[in-house]
């Protein structure tokens, strides 16, 4: 009944592993860069605020699939040599997701009172020490549910990397399908796997949201 899936399971799951790896790179890079982007968005220095805002506004208003495409064709010109599809996709995702995580961090930073930051400064902490020990941890905790939601979206979006030929799960499924011609069971299987991971993620997010509300710690 599920012969097309079971017969190609290792190949398909190998593709799924690529999705997981791509999501891991996108999240690690996107969250780190987003931390800085968020700082740029609340900067009082125009030469910081303006370019960062242009970057965020630009990327948030074009579809991710175009960014993936565009990077794939432009990167070889910048790098001087062709990049493999995974590296190219990972860079596109980091640059793209950083704008979304950047806005989440911005909201988190803005939830911190001016005087809390002043209190940190008044003990002699420098700007970067205040960012690292006070602002980022507080913003991260307060925005955790939004971060998890955005991470789930990122994970779903990794399948878009099929457009540049990355051998992720959707791409491999279409290859298997072109041989086996079992579209319904093959794509249902893909959908099921994505659903399980993302649903679990959304439950985790809900848990932290509830916990934050109840503990009232932050």
């Amino acid at each position: 009944m599920f012969s097309a899936v079971t017969g190609n399971l290792a190949y398909l799951l190998g593709g799924f592993l690529t999705n997981v790896q791509l999501a891991a790179c996108a999240l690690a890079g996107g969250i780190f860069l987003g931390m800085l982007v968020g700082l740029g968005r609340i900067s009082t220095r125009k030469w910081v605020y303006r370019p960062v805002t242009v970057y965020v506004d630009f990327l948030r208003n074009i579809p991710l699939i175009l960014v993936i495409f565009w990077f794939y064709f432009v990167m070889p010109i910048i790098a001087g040599r062709p990049l493999n599809a995974f590296v190219s996709a990972a860079i596109s995702f980091i640059v793209f997701e950083a704008t979304y995580f950047g806005e989440i961090f911005r909201a988190g930073y803005q939830s911190i009172s001016r005087d809390l930051v002043n209190a940190a400064y008044s003990t002699g902490l420098t700007y970067w020490q205040t960012v690292r020990y006070i602002m980022v941890p507080i913003a991260f905790r307060r925005m955790l549910p939004s971060m998890i939601t955005q991470s789930i979206i990122t994970f779903q979006d990794t399948s878009l990397a099929y457009v540049i030929g990355l051998q992720e799960m959707v791409r491999r499924t279409s290859i298997v399908d072109s041989i086996e011609v079992r579209s319904i069971q093959l794509y249902s299987f893909v959908a099921l796997l994505f659903f399980i991971v993302c649903f679990a993620g959304s439950r985790v997010s809900r848990y932290y949201e509830e916990k934050g509300r109840r503990a009232n710690v932050l």
Partner: protein, 241 residues
């Protein structure tokens, strides 16, 4: 010594501080009072460089706060500050919060910083709260933690910005007692407060501010018995009622 010379500050066209002059000598306690919006808090923030000012000069032990070449991060290590709304770091336990700046700024070992933090918690009377989070403390306890956090950097000056005005009445005294002890031990203090009992007990000088200017100043005796200006009299009548 803190020397404030002719400070003026504007927000756009609105003047928040006008020609403030004041000298705070070593070991002195100066209390600033005045209606809200009179620029008291802004003045404190100018002294440790949290707010810029447009005119005049502030010298802390001879170091000019307004000079762009001054390392403000370094200067602030000498001036502890306590805020009206405590401003404790919500994600840290009390002991970690107090030890943070000594570890990161003064590069003390964790052990040394935490031992010092415990000592300070004993001093402000809440050693049992070392591992609590701010959300689980009463207002009075939170403010005492905030004082300990400032003292951990072994500052030469302490500034208090209305330290008791966000507290329930029954908690005011426990915070004031800590401040009175500090003052009697010889800490140089600049306190924005309407606690006139506190001012009477420890202030070497009381300043009344209104509309961004110093209207009147005096030792506690002259200030309370014979205020010279009508505005000071009105204000004292209001708060001593």
């Amino acid at each position: 010594m803190i020397e404030i010379k002719n400070i003026s500050k504007w927000y756009g066209n609105f003047q928040v501080l006008g020609d403030i002059n004041e000298v705070i000598g070593r070991g002195q306690t100066v209390v600033i009072c005045g209606p809200s919006g009179s620029g008291k808090s802004t003045l404190l923030r100018c002294i440790n460089g949290l707010e810029p000012f447009q005119k005049g000069e502030i010298l802390v032990d001879g170091i000019s706060v307004g000079d762009p070449k001054t390392n403000l991060y370094k200067l602030r290590q000498r001036i502890g500050m306590v805020f009206q709304r405590f401003e404790l770091y919500p994600h840290m336990t009390v002991i970690d919060m107090i030890a943070l700046a000594p570890m990161k700024v003064k590069k003390k070992s964790k052990r040394e910083a935490q031992a010092k933090a415990m000592e300070l918690l004993e001093r402000v009377g809440i050693p049992d709260k070392a591992h609590a989070y701010p959300a689980n403390l009463s207002g009075g306890q939170q403010q005492r933690v905030a004082i300990a956090r400032a003292l951990a950097m072994e500052p030469e000056y302490m500034m208090f910005d209305e330290p008791t005005s966000a507290l329930d009445p029954e908690m005011i005294q426990e915070v004031l007692e800590v401040m009175i002890d500090l003052s009697k031990e010889g800490m140089t203090m600049l306190v924005v407060s309407h606690e006139m009992g506190f001012a009477r007990e420890v202030a070497d000088e009381i300043i009344f501010m209104d509309g961004g200017r110093i209207v009147e100043r005096g030792t506690d005796e002259e200030f309370f018995k014979n205020p010279k200006h009508q505005r000071t009299k009105d204000f004292l009548n209001q708060i001593l009622k």
